[in-house]
Point group: D2
Chain length 462, copies 4
């Protein structure tokens, strides 16, 4: 296949080298974005008088035809091409003949790749944000439908204090809020530029926004209205920069980490021992040996994929370490980790949405767990504090009472009032005291939390 | 030393456990921020009537005294304490007696640690931004002082096209711009809250901003005006969240990556072979065996420390993977990587500033490098394009010309006009052609770059 | 402080550079190993006639004196020195005067650092292996003391089949066996060499083993008998190589990962919900807010520290990526991650040993968990297989039986024989069938496991 | 497609779940190894009388037929199957009918996957070792063909001392020696076992080696003679263990790191500035914009891929952190990083072999670099030491001489003898002194290196 370079070479590239350096098997994902970039470039060439209006229009028609043939499931790229940019160049030449040889005027793949990748990221971030929004909606629905449920809250995976299930689930929504906000920041700061050339700029007029509109129509013209295409500010930086890739994979890694925690909680809740929830069969798998098994494989895979995201992050960070300016071929290896990260997180969000929508809570079992007296120990402390005992003393007294209860195998509620008064604190009035072992009362006494539960951020991105 | 817990325990903690779980040898860095937090908490306790005005004032005086004794070089923490929070609690009790036992009312270390760490981060990010600003200033000064210099630009570490040294150095300023912008985003979204308790909130009034001002004076009152202290929105999330730590280390990792690239370039430029620059002796070190050595160790260490940053990032990411809600003790291990990352990047920025301020460019040597004809090959292509040759054809023609020049060991400038016309293109006029081998002309013909060189972002954070 | 280099420098090193490049605050750990190396080097200088016997002896006496002053808790290094090698050189000069200036003949720190670090590793690996051995002994004791206990085995954290607790605990011993074997491989392949110089070798006689014994006595002579000190084979590789650091941190990362899994299991077992075990109070900590808490902090920290190990590994791997030969200063940054990794894993092994030694199993609670009929589903399948049903059919039949039992809220044991026969398989004889719900019988029927439980590997390293 | 489980499920698995949990698109690489495992399992079932001789033979014939259809380029797996194990089970049923339902008797995929993956690794490690051996052979040939060449040796990328090119290249062979040795260790300790079941073992006879030979013939019988198939020692460990995956990726990461360093050196050597070597055009690529470019893309990609290896390592390490025993679905995610790591390193070794075989050294240019006097500074020091000056004094004197030479812009060779004697050392005899600036003499005076250059290790693995 014809390459975009080669004049000075008298030898053919070694087969192994071709296989080793090829990227078309993954960068074909950029086809659409590359075509748009080429169209805009045609506009710029026209504006700078490197192309006549007629030639420009012919090239645009040719590019439009290729774009129309794109279809994620049908598009056939030529696997013998070095990359998608070469493939599209060749396809264009097939359509418009030698005129196609003018398209690459004042353009370098270094710039072209950055353009297409950034454009791709703009769209993919949006997709992820939408999937986050849908997952959040599902979690919120689950929370609302079960808003009366109180569960034991855990610290150190030990019973701590009772909490509303809704607050628990909203903790995950808070995480996802930060995630979508972070992605929004990245998307907004992703500047799509043109004109860097290989590293030193080109002789073209840098005002892409203006005059090129005259010749560009249809979808690319809409894109130009929606996304600002800017002239490059520093061309050396532009072809050397992969910050946006790292930022995105880092943000997606945090999403994945959040989802791994959610999965862990659900895995625990679905054990025979916790038994807080029932997963739907459609979201579980079985065992080839043990017929009873109904395993939470989806959740385990979500947890495990976290490593893949972290690995992708390390991969790109390592690649960029210590690279001299400007473009080096190492940077081609940014795309697989990027694409893979988008893909994994996107799948995770979607499959979790389905799984969470079908969760059933075992209210009876959960109620049983709330009978554990230790969950109310802090309320007992506050009781004493309100009676004038200093906090640390009250903490010690209740600590000793718990110890007494364990050592004597007696429930706190069953400790006689005289012993409570004598051994622990004469301020304890048993009748009052025993009313403290009440989940609802305990939760409702926590006034410090403002529960600023607002889903607007998930809408504003649309 | 007295602990913040213990009533229910009848056995002493094992010595190994104390050593293993202790954090005071690193979290003593949080002392100042923890004291401010305690003062605000006193305000909240007063407002919610858990403390009388008199008691509140006594506690504030005691805390103020401890704050006054703080001095990074002199502050003596008690190494036997579990953590800095315990140490300050103890110090306070020494000052105000049993009244001190009330301070911890309706408070948990889970919340306290988050408060102090976030506050610390606000200040540290500012310091890093200032150090970035100073480094940028130094790079810009170097760029301005040498703005006439043109150097060979590289792609793939091969001669590509001539570029202005100033543009080259500004590529690094562009990176640092993104860095400071990213840190700014993190700082602005770092919400400092109170009232999460251990996980479930507390019985205290959540309106910290308001009534507590009445009792708080001096520095803490200034802080309250400068930083918004908010009531917690979701207490389970607050004690479970370490996103901000990951965001910061990720952002600092990108800074470190940028500095590693800058270092790599300078290391190359300082080799005998490149010889573009001379480093000052004060910023080099020698060899114990080879007396001639003047090594760029500073730059190598900056390059090498990148690994440390990446490692810190992996450390916290791994730690958080798959943790169930809410707080787990694993999370204590966030602080060393965080502190270490701030420290390394801060030192790097400062030492690079000094080193860069003293760089001398070897203009003569650089000029010699610019004589390489291959640097102008792209200009030769544009020449043909302007004569009407299509870009890809022109590219091929010049490629063949270069090949001819190499194979016949003849300079392009010395190829006779008839051969140029016959073998390559009859559009070539030798006189015009030979004028293209001119660095200044080459650089100035690149009109597409807008050089939007503005340092304002480094000022606005102040 | 006097440096090991400097003749060609007319300027003083910048303060920031000194602070930034200094390593004595961590490499002081190598003092002992560096002194031994210096002694052996004196032997080599004597052998190659660079030192008289008398001078050599004086140097050895001086070095011996410094060695005698070493004491991990007391040794005072000079924090103003660049590194421990400089410090020892200075200390030696203080003792023997100008004669000390001869010690560094034909020696470079590049080589010296590698020597000392490798020697250090040999000893530290041994320590880790011993700590592994002790932890294994403790686990095995726990396993033996409770060898009658059967627990529910888990896959996907769901009840799978009953297993012996002993086999469960031995799974961890198997992991630790691989760990110690892996460390043994590393230690055995750690070649301690001399003579690399800065990169190009030295003029000294390479036969260290032989003639130098004549002048070396005491501990260093014992070391020479125990450890082979070899002449360098390729000097460029020797000063460039940090494989051994990576290997060690990778091996320690796997140890840490194993311990994180053990911790996870114990954390789960100690929840209110599982309640398989009781941890000793001396190995737990409490809460400053919630007096009832007895948290498994030790286990959580062990789990969390895994991230630190992985981070250290990434740190050194990143540092080494793409470094040109030979020595580069980046490599100095290998030591903190190495030392830190040894330290963390060493502490983890020791504290876990203590914790595990005091674990109590709640046999009654565990017995209750074994009543879950689903644990025996596979045994029901084997029963049908033995009656001639093909495995996959049997699997399906029992799967349907479980489904029936769940949907009709009836225990399998209570399903009437006629229904069993009619709806599921006429080969089922209820009397036989009901005997299958027996943990001991189930476990003992698994003949395929050879239980090759041998602790010899932990002894042979001694 | 029929699954290996499902009896208890009344609902169909959700489509998203099927897509998300499927592994056949990558684990089809294990087809061959899985079939061998199934054959051995048939042998075991026969031996334990779960299969008649006749049935066993029919199954073996069926499996053999599937194996015969395997061809990396032609094999068609059913993409609707969950994994390759299910696919092969289905294919077998198509061939032998209901008899196929007996194959999975007393077997779990947990065990099956481990068996196939370990077997796969044995073969892949061998392939990598062979590719290493071939690369080493190529490097050695290059070294031998150019053994007379001396190059400047570098530390800190600064001129240090002259070294033989051969020694330089052998530094890389030393690294590759350690790599192959490390892989050998892993392969030898990779125990291939059977009988773990899902976690608890199976009722089958554990003596695989013996009686099953009776029924197994052909290739599988050869394999049984070559590789020891053992009974499982601890079944819980076997299904939980992924150490071997981590070990392999860690070892391959070190290989990749070594290759990144080799690439970095060659990239430097091929710059206009160093110009030590000429790469063959067949191993370079060009630029779409700049016609002169002949870029070392292969080397850059090798350098960049290091990140991918490190990322794969982090991916699996993270995945395994904190997983409870025994098998969890997360572990399925070990295979892509493993396969990818083998593939990348394999390609790197092969393409580098081709590239290195065609390298040409620019002897003239290299000779020019050797004229740098600073390369001989250490020889000047040794000269003074042999004249009785102590090493550190000599080091200082020569340092000052270099400083003098630089400041006065005079070559050391040209400093008059009287100045040498007066200002530096009266022991200097100019005639002797000037002869020290001799690369060959310098290199040959380094006696300490034993150059134990033996390629046997690369043969013994065959």
């Amino acid at each position: 296949m014809s390459k975009l370079w080669g004049g000075r070479f008298s030898k053919k590239t070694d087969k192994l080298v071709e296989e080793f350096s090829k990227s078309i098997h993954y960068d074909n994902k950029l086809a659409e974005y590359d075509i748009w970039g080429s169209m805009i470039h045609v506009g710029a060439l026209f504006k700078s008088r490197y192309l006549t209006r007629d030639d420009a229009n012919k090239l645009l028609v040719g590019l439009k035809e290729i774009a129309d043939e794109l279809d994620p499931n049908k598009f056939i790229y030529d696997p013998n091409c070095e990359d998608i940019h070469t493939d599209i160049q060749n396809k264009l030449q097939n359509k418009v003949g030698d005129l196609g040889l003018k398209l690459h005027t004042a353009r370098s793949r270094n710039d072209q790749v950055v353009f297409a990748t950034k454009f791709y990221c703009k769209f993919k971030i949006k997709e992820i944000q939408e999937a986050i929004g849908e997952l959040v909606h599902t979690i919120n629905t689950l929370a609302e439908e079960n808003k009366g449920i109180i569960i034991p809250g855990f610290t150190h995976l030990q019973h701590a204090q009772p909490v509303y299930l809704k607050d628990y689930l909203w903790a995950y929504i808070e995480m996802l809020k930060r995630d979508t906000h972070r992605l929004q920041y990245i998307a907004e700061n992703l500047k799509i530029t043109m004109g860097a050339g290989a590293l030193a700029g080109t002789p073209l007029d840098p005002n892409y926004g203006q005059g090129i509109k005259e010749i560009l129509t249809g979808k690319v013209s809409e894109l130009l209205q929606k996304f600002k295409i800017e002239a490059v500010s520093n061309s050396l930086d532009t072809v050397s920069d992969r910050d946006f890739i790292i930022e995105i994979i880092a943000a997606l890694s945090i999403v994945a980490m959040h989802l791994s925690r959610l999965s862990e909680d659900l895995i625990l809740w679905t054990t025979k021992e916790f038994d807080f929830i029932e997963l739907d069969e459609a979201f579980c798998t079985g065992s080839s040996l043990m017929p009873q098994k109904k395993n939470p494989d989806v959740l385990e895979l979500v947890r495990g994929y976290t490593g893949r995201l972290y690995g992708n992050l390390v991969s790109v960070l390592t690649m960029m370490k210590g690279l001299p300016l400007t473009y080096n071929r190492d940077m081609q290896l940014d795309k697989e980790p990027l694409f893979n990260s988008f893909e994994i997180v996107s799948k995770e969000l979607k499959v979790l949405k389905g799984l969470i929508a079908t969760i059933k809570f075992n209210e009876k079992k959960i109620a049983g767990h709330l009978e554990d007296e230790s969950l109310y120990a802090t309320d007992l402390v506050y009781y004493l504090v309100q009676k004038g005992v200093s906090f640390k003393q009250a903490h010690t007294i209740i600590g000793e009472l718990i110890s007494y209860s364990l050592n004597n195998d007696i429930k706190i509620k069953d400790v006689p009032e005289d012993i409570l008064k004598e051994k622990f604190s004469d301020k304890i009035i048993k009748k009052e005291f025993n009313q403290l072992f009440n989940a609802k009362k305990s939760v409702d006494s926590k006034l410090s939390v403002k529960r600023d539960y607002d889903l607007n951020i998930f809408k504003t991105q649309e």
